[in-house]
Every structure is written in structure tokens, then in C-alpha cells.
């Protein structure tokens, strides 16, 4: 009972500062001497998303002071980062990716005011499945201090994009069992497979703890033997980190790789993808941050959303290597990456 009362008290204490700080930021106009303060917690340094996020404020002459906390793929560093943020309180916290966001704000129904940030407004980016992972509250409930921008195209659109390239009945996926967003994405893919008549050939890694990248080539070879038409990269930080291992294994087995995220095509060797431009995702998130900071909007009142237009990217070098050339109609609207 005492633990419960303490919990309630702490929740109340954490909510009051959000409201008061919020009111304060909304009413006080920023100036070069007193800019807005945004704390950015990043997974692996700055990307095009942050570039878009910063340029949104810059183009509107909104002075912002960014405090960047790069955890460099070490999720265990989050508690220290949160402690540093609390010592130097910002007006808003920005988080990158599902892992970072989950560790920073917790599940909507399991918030620990000590371990998680609940006293500052939080805007996340690059969370592929905010509702599935519990970062966002279900429909009908609100999460007062969290909003954000997602970046993944609807799965059905992704499958149609693959089939616009070539017929596909078997989709090979190597993924990390330790990442909830990846697991949830595979479950959704399998469900969609029943509806759209394709089979997901899954090769999970990390059954016994941290996955081993050395196992990726064998997993891809197995998928090729099972008859996969393409490899699929979904929202998966581990596979994103070792994307070249995956795509090279694909080349060795005559398999092209489709990606749901931009970097795997633009900076890696995935053959094609239906993606959101990272820059635009950053701008979308920035528009929400600006609404909170400038207009005094409650984060919980701002919808968590994704872009409504996506880009079809084709890496021609990968297509040429596999002699899987893009169909002529795709050349009308796809962005070709040489």
C-alpha cells in the first residue's frame, strides 16, 4: 500500500512539472540568448533524420539549442543519459529508434517515473510500430507526454512494391529475435502473407541472447535453398548494422534484397525499397516539436503518424550484379541510385 501511495505521489510530482514547464515554454518566446533546449538521444550518431529535424527549425528562424547524447548502439547507456538530462532539464526530448524510445519512455502501461522520462515532452522518430511495441497508447487512451513520427510504409504497400519488380511468392527474412519491433513486424508479415498469398521464410537470430552476425550468411543460404524470391529488411537495428553482410550473402545466392528503410538502399547494397526519406521524417517530427514548443500543444494531443508518400528506390548496381533489371514501368517513378 505504501509503495502504491509513493508511486502515485511520484506520478503526480512528475506530471505537475510537465504542465508547468510546458506552460512556461509555450508562453515564453525564444530568443538567440534564450533558445529552446532540445535533448537528442541518438542510437548511432546523427543521420539524415536529424538533419531534417534541425533544418526545419533553422528555416523558420526558431532558435534551438541541441544537446546530443549518442549512445553508440549501447542501450545500457540510457539511464546515465536520462540522469544527465534531468540535471540539465531541456524543453523537449528527441529519441531515435524503437530501442532508444522504449528505454527512455517505457511502455504506455508500465511507466517507471524513475527509470523513464515522464516529466518532459518526448518526440520520437524511426519507431516502426509504436502501437505494437506499446510506446504509443492504444486507440481511446492517451499518453500525455509522447508523440512522434514513424517511417515505415504500410506492409501491403511494401509487398505490392516488391511485386511491381518481379513476382514474389516466398519472402526470406533474417531478423533479430531480441528486437520487439522486428518480431512484431514479422508476425504482421506472416498474417499479411495469408491475405496476399505469399509465404514468409523466416530465419531468426539471437535465440540465446545477442545475435551473432557471423550466422547471417548461412541463414541467407538456407533461405535461398528454401526457395526465397527476395530477402527482406524490415525495421531491425541488428540487421541494419550488418546490412552489407546480408546483401553480400544475397548476391552470393542470387537473391536481391528489399528494404523498408532508406539507408539500406542509399548507403548499403539493398537492391530496392519503398521508403520514407529520412530528411522528411525528421521534418515531420520537427513540426510536432514546434507545435509543442511554440503553440503549447500537448504531445498527447498530436497524432503519431507517418508520411503519406513514400519513395521507390532502386540501387542499379545491385540489380546489374544480379542481372535482375528493373521493369520499364518502374523507371517512370522510381528513384535510381547508382
Amino acid at each position: 500500500m505504501i509503495r502504491f501511495l509513493v508511486f502515485v505521489l511520484m506520478v503526480l510530482m512528475s506530471v505537475v512539472p510537465v504542465s508547468s514547464a510546458h506552460a512556461q515554454t509555450a508562453n515564453s518566446a525564444p530568443s538567440p540568448d534564450h533558445p529552446f533546449r532540445i535533448a537528442m538521444i541518438l542510437w548511432r550518431g546523427e543521420t539524415k533524420v536529424e538533419e531534417g529535424f534541425r533544418s526545419y527549425f533553422h528555416s523558420r528562424n526558431i532558435p534551438v539549442d541541441f544537446q546530443v547524447y549518442n549512445i553508440d548502439r549501447n542501450i545500457a547507456a540510457i539511464p546515465d543519459v536520462i540522469a544527465q538530462i534531468r540535471k540539465n532539464p531541456p524543453d523537449l526530448v528527441y529519441t531515435w529508434g524503437t530501442g532508444v524510445t522504449m528505454a527512455t519512455v517505457g511502455r504506455y502501461d508500465d511507466v517507471d517515473p524513475v527509470r523513464n522520462i515522464s516529466e518532459f515532452p518526448v518526440v520520437f522518430v524511426m519507431v516502426s510500430a509504436p502501437w505494437k511495441t506499446g510506446i504509443a497508447a492504444p486507440v481511446g487512451q492517451t499518453r500525455p507526454n509522447v508523440t512522434g513520427a514513424s517511417h515505415i510504409a504500410p506492409l501491403a504497400a511494401q509487398i505490392n512494391a516488391i511485386r511491381a519488380y518481379r513476382p514474389m511468392s516466398h519472402l526470406g527474412v533474417v531478423y533479430n529475435l531480441q528486437e520487439s519491433n522486428s518480431v512484431s513486424n514479422i508476425a504482421d508479415l506472416k498474417l499479411l502473407g495469408e491475405e496476399m498469398s505469399f509465404e514468409v521464410l523466416a530465419a531468426p537470430l539471437g535465440q540465446t541472447g545477442e545475435p551473432d552476425p557471423a550466422r547471417i550468411p548461412q541463414a541467407v543460404t538456407d533461405l535461398a535453398k528454401k526457395g526465397a524470391d527476395f530477402l527482406y529488411i524490415g525495421p531491425d537495428n541488428f540487421i541494419g548494422t550488418y546490412r552489407d553482410v546480408l546483401t553480400d550473402s544475397g548476391f552470393a545466392n542470387g537473391l536481391g534484397t528489399f528494404s523498408a528503410t532508406e539507408l539500406e538502399v542509399r548507403e548499403g547494397h539493398a537492391m530496392f525499397g519503398l521508403v520514407s526519406h529520412y530528411d522528411l521524417v525528421g521534418r515531420l517530427a520537427a513540426s510536432k516539436a514546434a507545435a509543442i514548443l511554440m503553440d503549447g500543444a500537448r504531445p498527447g494531443d498530436l497524432p503519431i503518424e507517418t508520411l503519406n508518400r513514400f519513395s521507390y528506390l532502386i540501387r542499379l548496381s545491385a540489380a546489374q550484379r544480379l542481372k535482375l533489371y528493373p521493369p520499364l514501368p518502374l523507371l517512370d517513378y522510381a528513384e535510381i541510385v547508382q
Binding site: 542499379l316 546489374q320 533489371y325
Partner: protein, 667 residues
């Protein structure tokens, strides 16, 4: 005149020199027109071929640019994928494009799309002189490829696309139906005008002249020819009148002027006011839908607007009948045509749902007023002997407008838009106002109002179970289905299926056409067999079968057949309903006459008609148009089963004579 003479003159083929000359000139004209048309079509083909080649060259260049881009990106020619999809995509914009192919210098087809290569390979290899005999118009352009792409330094491949040669005549064939409809309308209008001119200038003066001459022959000298005409008949009868006047003076008699009422005018007037309304029939649901989209969510709004119009007609008709005696036919018609003009003009310029409701209500009021004016004119201008003839004259004008209106309105709407079509209807109503002054005989006051539904008639209805069954399960559903299916669901469904407004108009026209052609046979069968309730049942079954067919297979041809079946069903059922209602209420009609019963029947029918668009719109709001027709068909089937089951148990005297249904049908 001998019997042989009569036989000779009533033979199948006309005889005499004039007929031979007519035949020869018609045949000569026919041959000349065929020759001119053939030559004109040939010249048109050449012109259109040039246009097709221009279009084909642009399309071929677009295809070639796409291939060039692929090659420039480093995709080898033999690695090209999706050429067929590209051609298929292009076919959506140009249905005359039949195939596209990339052909090597040796004539080998490397890639193709649209048709299987076996279907056109023969045409590609034939000499260029034979191309006119081919079913394709071929357009060839070379592909300017780098040698690295082809691996060949001497012979770059070419791109060939083939268009349908038959498409050259498509502008003509596409408009063939429109041309036919316009020809039909021109014939109908010519017939109407000829009938009017002949009746007014020849038939009626001759009829009166023969009566005057017979009077002179009988040495009475009491009649003068009063049918004024300025032609030879008029001059001749003028002299006869002088002779009669002088002779009568000598005999101490005062002759009076004799003339016939120009009843034929009401035919053209009925045609005009129905035409004014029917022109816009094919576009009403869509146009009303657009205007009410922001107020009542489109479909429901359109249904409400149409229902308000029909409801206004139902309410206004008995009210107009009450004041008809005081106003007179001519003034009544002028008021009605004026109201219709304002209503149709307002509809053309309507900006939203609420003002549209007002304009359509006004149109309904105008429609009802002109209808009552024509009815009372016929009643006043005829007697018991020729009333059937007079009514038939008015009905035939209405039916002609039912046939011509939607068809010609569809063409007008297709070319000039919905607003113009309503404005055109208003224009027709204005012409009707002007014509009414000439066509309505000043001799006819028109103070015999059409019967109104009396309280006694309602009371009789409430006591009469068989009549209730007839009204509830046959009369009301018949009009409900007519307005729900023909006026609402058919245009909506056909438009969704990609039909043009002109095509929708032609399909709606089928209703009137089939009703006109089959009406006489159906009425004859009903009169002879004296099985009115059976005829009502048959009409109901035909309606239900047609609707169920169209609901299960909602494609254009089935819908057109269902519309034709509805025409047949209504032609069978509606006159039979009139006869059956009089037969079923014999006790009442013996005392009070047939008018009140028929007025109650008409009122019930019109209320049924008013609910039709509302029901159709509600069904379309929740289901597809095809499903809505299916549900309507189920409703029709249930109604007719109830009618047959319930009426079968009622004692109906099948041998009792009833007044002719035909004469009462228009009341």
C-alpha cells in the same frame, strides 16, 4: 365505287403513275446517297488515317524514349523487362492501340505487348503496299541505341506499334446511335407538326364543310362554315356561306356558325410539357447528387430532391383539379408552363440542396398544373362518344415525349452539360406557353375539372378489401418501382459502369418504346379475356423477374433488358389496374361514378412514386446500386406474391363489364 375498286385501292402496294415515279425517285435517291456516303467515308478515312499516324508516332516516341532511358542506365536490350506492361498501360489511354513490339533488323520480334506476337507477325512481314489490307495501321520508328547495348554495330532494332484500322470509322460508329435518335426525334416532331397542320387546315375544315353541304343538301340552310382557313377550302366555303346567308334571309332563317374543336392541339401541348421535364431524366440523380453532396451526403440528397418533386405532383394534382373550374384550361396551362419554366431554370442554376428543393417543388407544381389543364381541356372538348379518342390523343403525346425526352436529353447533356439540359427544358416550357395561345381552342373553357378523390371514395376504399390489396400490392409498388428503378437506380448504375449520358438516355427510352409497342396488344388481351387481375399479376411478375435479373447481373445489357421488361409490365398492368379497380368497386361507382375511385387510385400511385427515389437512395447509400436493384426486385416479388395470394381469395366478378381502361388511363 365498286367493291373491286375498293379492293384495288386498299391493296398492299400503291398503284398509279405517281407511285411508280415516287418509287423510282426514292430508289434513285437511295443509290445516290449510298454512293456519296461511301465516297465521303473513304475521304474521311484518309483524313483520320493521318491523325491516327500522328498520334501513333507520338506514342511510339514515348515508348522509344523509355527504352532509351533504360539502355542509358546500363540495362542491356536483352535485359529489358516489362515492355508488355508498358504497352498495356498505354492501351488504357488509347483503346485503339492493339500492340507494340521491338523488332530486330532481321524482323525477329524481341519484345511485344498488347497482342500475342503470332497475331501480328504476319502483318509485320508483309510488303508496305499490302498494309492497307491489314487490320493494323503500323507505325515504325528506329531505336537509336548505343552499340554497347545491342552488341551489334550495323543493325539497330526498330519499334513498331499497331493501331486498329477499324478505329478509323469510330467517330462515325460512336455517334451512330445519336444520329439514329436525332433522326427518330426529327421524324416524331415532323409527324406531330404534320398531324397538327393537316388536322387544323384540312381535316377539320373538310369535316365541317361536309356537314354544311349536307345541311344545304337537306334544304335547311341553318349552318355556316365557321372553321376559318385561308386556303381554297376556306375561299370555297366562304362563297357557300354567302349563298347560305342570302338563301336563309329569304327564308327568314338565322343560320349559325358551325365549327369543330381543335382537340389535336392538346397532343402537342402534352408532348411539350412532358418533354420539358423528361429531357433531364438521365442526369437527374447525378446532378442532384453533386448539388446535395455537402448537405445530405449525395445519394440521400438526390433521392430526397426527386421525392419532393414527385410528392409535389401528387399533392398538387387534386388541388389543381379543385380550382380548375374557376381558372380555365388556357390560364391553367399558362400558369403551369410558367411555373415549370421558372423551376427548370432555377434547377439549372441551383447552387445547393435547399434552393434545389424549392426549384424542383416548383417544377412539380408546374407539371401537375399543366397536366390538369390538359386533362380538363380534353374533358370539356369531348363528349361520351369521343372522349376515348381525346384521351388517347393526350396519352400518345405524353408517350412520345417519354420516348424522345430522355434520349435526346442524354445527347444534349453529353455535349453541353446538365445545367444546359435543364435550361433547354425551360426553353421547351417557354415555347409551350407561346403555343398554348394558338393550340388551345378559345371555344373550350375547360371548366370540367378532372375528378378528385372524395371522402366517400376513401371510405369505400377502406371498406373494400380487394381494392386495398390492389392499391397496396400492385398500384403503389408499380409506381414506386418505376421511379426507384428507372428514374434513379438505372442512371446511377449505368454511370458507375462507365456508360455515357447519351447511352443512359437510350436505355431509359426503351421503357417508353416497349410500353408504346406492347400497350395495344396488352390492353386488347385484357379487354378480351376480362382477366384484369391476372394482367396485373403478369405485369408484377415480369417486373420482379426483370429487376432480379438486373440485380443479380448488373451489367448494361441486362439492365437494358430489365428496363424493356418494366415497360412491358407497366403497359400490361397499369390499364388493367384501372379496369380492376372499377370492377372491384362496382357498388360505389354505380352510385357515384368512376371518377373518385380513379382519383384515389392515382393519388395512391403518385405517393408510391414519390417514395421510390427515397427508397432507392437509401439502398444505394448502404449498398451498391446492383444490390439496391436486387433488393427492389425482392420487394417486387414479395408484393406480387402477396397480391396473387390475397386477391385469389377474394370473390371478383370476371364477367362484369368495366369502362374502357384506355379511356381512363390518363386520368
Amino acid at each position: 365505287m365498286t367493291e373491286a375498286h375498293v379492293r384495288a385501292r386498299t391493296g398492299l402496294l400503291p398503284k398509279g403513275t405517281i407511285w411508280v415515279l415516287l418509287l423510282v425517285s426514292v430508289i434513285a435517291l437511295f443509290i445516290a446517297l449510298i454512293g456519296i456516303s461511301w465516297r465521303a467515308a473513304d475521304l474521311a478515312r484518309e483524313d483520320l488515317r493521318g491523325e491516327t499516324v500522328k498520334k501513333a508516332t507520338i506514342e511510339a516516341q514515348v515508348l522509344a524514349e523509355k527504352i532509351d532511358r533504360a539502355i542509358s542506365l546500363g540495362i542491356p536490350l536483352d535485359g529489358i523487362v516489362g515492355f508488355g506492361d508498358l504497352v498495356t498501360g498505354m492501351q488504357q489511354g488509347d483503346p485503339d492501340l492493339l500492340f507494340g513490339a521491338i523488332v530486330s533488323a532481321e524482323g525477329q520480334i524481341l519484345f511485344s505487348g498488347g497482342l500475342a506476337s503470332s497475331e501480328f507477325s504476319q502483318s509485320l512481314s508483309s510488303p508496305s503496299g499490302d498494309e492497307k489490307q491489314s487490320r493494323f495501321i503500323l507505325t515504325r520508328i528506329p531505336l537509336e541505341l548505343t552499340t554497347a547495348a545491342t552488341g551489334d554495330t550495323t543493325t539497330p532494332p526498330g519499334l513498331v506499334i499497331g493501331h486498329d484500322r477499324a478505329a478509323l470509322m469510330r467517330p462515325l460508329t460512336d455517334n451512330l446511335f445519336d444520329i439514329g435518335i436525332i433522326l427518330l426525334i426529327a421524324l416524331a416532331l415532323s409527324f406531330e407538326l404534320m398531324l397538327l397542320v393537316l388536322t387544323v387546315n384540312v381535316t377539320l375544315p373538310v369535316k365541317v364543310a361536309s356537314r354544311v353541304l349536307a345541311n344545304i343538301h337537306a334544304r335547311k340552310f341553318t349552318l355556316l362554315h365557321g372553321q376559318s382557313s385561308r386556303d381554297d377550302i376556306g375561299l370555297f366555303m366562304g362563297r357557300i356561306n354567302s349563298l347560305v346567308t342570302s338563301t336563309a334571309q329569304k327564308a327568314g332563317i338565322t343560320p349559325h356558325s358551325e365549327r369543330e374543336v381543335r382537340l389535336v392541339g392538346v397532343r402537342l401541348l402534352a408532348f411539350m410539357f412532358i418533354l420539358a421535364e423528361e429531357l433531364a431524366r438521365p442526369i437527374m440523380p447525378t446532378y442532384f447528387n453533386e448539388l446535395s453532396a455537402h448537405t445530405m451526403g449525395g445519394q440521400l440528397g438526390a433521392g430526397t430532391v426527386m421525392a419532393v418533386h414527385l410528392l409535389m405532383v401528387a399533392i398538387a394534382m387534386p388541388l389543381c383539379s379543385l380550382v380548375q373550374g374557376k381558372v380555365g384550361s388556357l390560364r391553367m396551362y399558362l400558369i403551369g408552363a410558367f411555373l415549370a419554366t421558372v423551376g427548370l431554370l432555377g434547377t439549372a442554376g441551383a447552387v445547393g440542396f435547399w434552393d434545389l428543393i424549392v426549384w424542383r417543388a416548383l417544377s412539380g407544381l408546374g407539371y401537375a398544373t399543366t397536366f390538369v389543364a390538359c386533362q380538363s381541356y380534353v374533358l370539356d372538348a369531348t363528349n361520351d362518344q369521343n372522349r376515348t379518342q381525346g384521351t388517347a390523343m393526350m396519352v400518345s403525346g405524353i408517350m412520345l415525349a417519354d420516348i424522345c425526352g430522355p434520349a435526346v436529353g442524354g445527347i444534349i447533356a453529353g455535349f453541353f452539360g446538365a445545367e444546359f439540359t435543364f435550361a433547354m427544358g425551360a426553353g421547351v416550357a417557354v415555347v409551350a406557353v407561346a403555343l398554348a395561345f394558338f393550340l388551345m381552342d378559345s371555344k373550350v373553357r375547360g371548366d370540367k375539372a378532372p375528378p378528385v378523390p372524395t371522402r366517400a371514395a376513401f371510405a369505400a376504399l377502406l371498406k373494400n378489401r380487394p381494392l386495398q390489396i390492389l392499391v397496396l400490392f400492385a398500384a403503389m409498388p408499380a409506381k414506386l418501382i418505376l421511379s426507384a428503378f428507372l428514374y434513379y437506380l438505372v442512371p446511377v448504375l449505368l454511370l458507375q459502369d462507365g456508360a455515357t449520358i447519351a447511352e443512359i438516355g437510350r436505355v431509359i427510352m426503351l421503357y417508353g418504346l416497349v410500353a408504346l409497342l406492347s400497350g395495344w396488344f396488352a390492353a386488347r388481351w385484357t379487354d378480351r379475356s376480362k382477366k384484369e387481375t391476372r394482367a396485373v399479376g403478369i405485369g408484377g411478375v415480369v417486373t420482379a423477374v426483370g429487376l432480379l435479373m438486373a440485380g443479380l447481373y448488373p451489367i448494361d445489357i441486362v439492365v437494358a433488358i430489365a428496363v424493356g421488361m418494366l415497360g412491358l409490365a407497366q403497359a400490361t398492368s397499369i390499364p388493367a389496374q384501372v379496369s380492376a379497380s372499377l370492377k372491384l368497386s362496382r357498388d360505389f361507382t354505380d352510385k357515384h361514378g368512376t371518377g373518385p375511385v380513379l382519383a384515389v387510385l392515382r393519388l395512391a400511385e403518385r405517393f408510391g412514386g414519390a417514395t421510390g427515389p427515397l427508397i432507392a437512395a437509401t439502398l444505394v447509400h448502404y449498398f451498391s446500386a446492383g444490390q439496391a436493384i436486387l433488393y427492389l426486385g425482392c420487394g417486387a416479388a414479395i408484393c406480387i406474391v402477396c397480391f396473387e395470394v390475397l386477391i385469389g381469395r377474394m370473390p371478383v366478378d370476371q364477367n362484369h363489364d368495366t369502362p374502357s381502361a384506355k379511356s381512363e388511363a390518363a386520368q
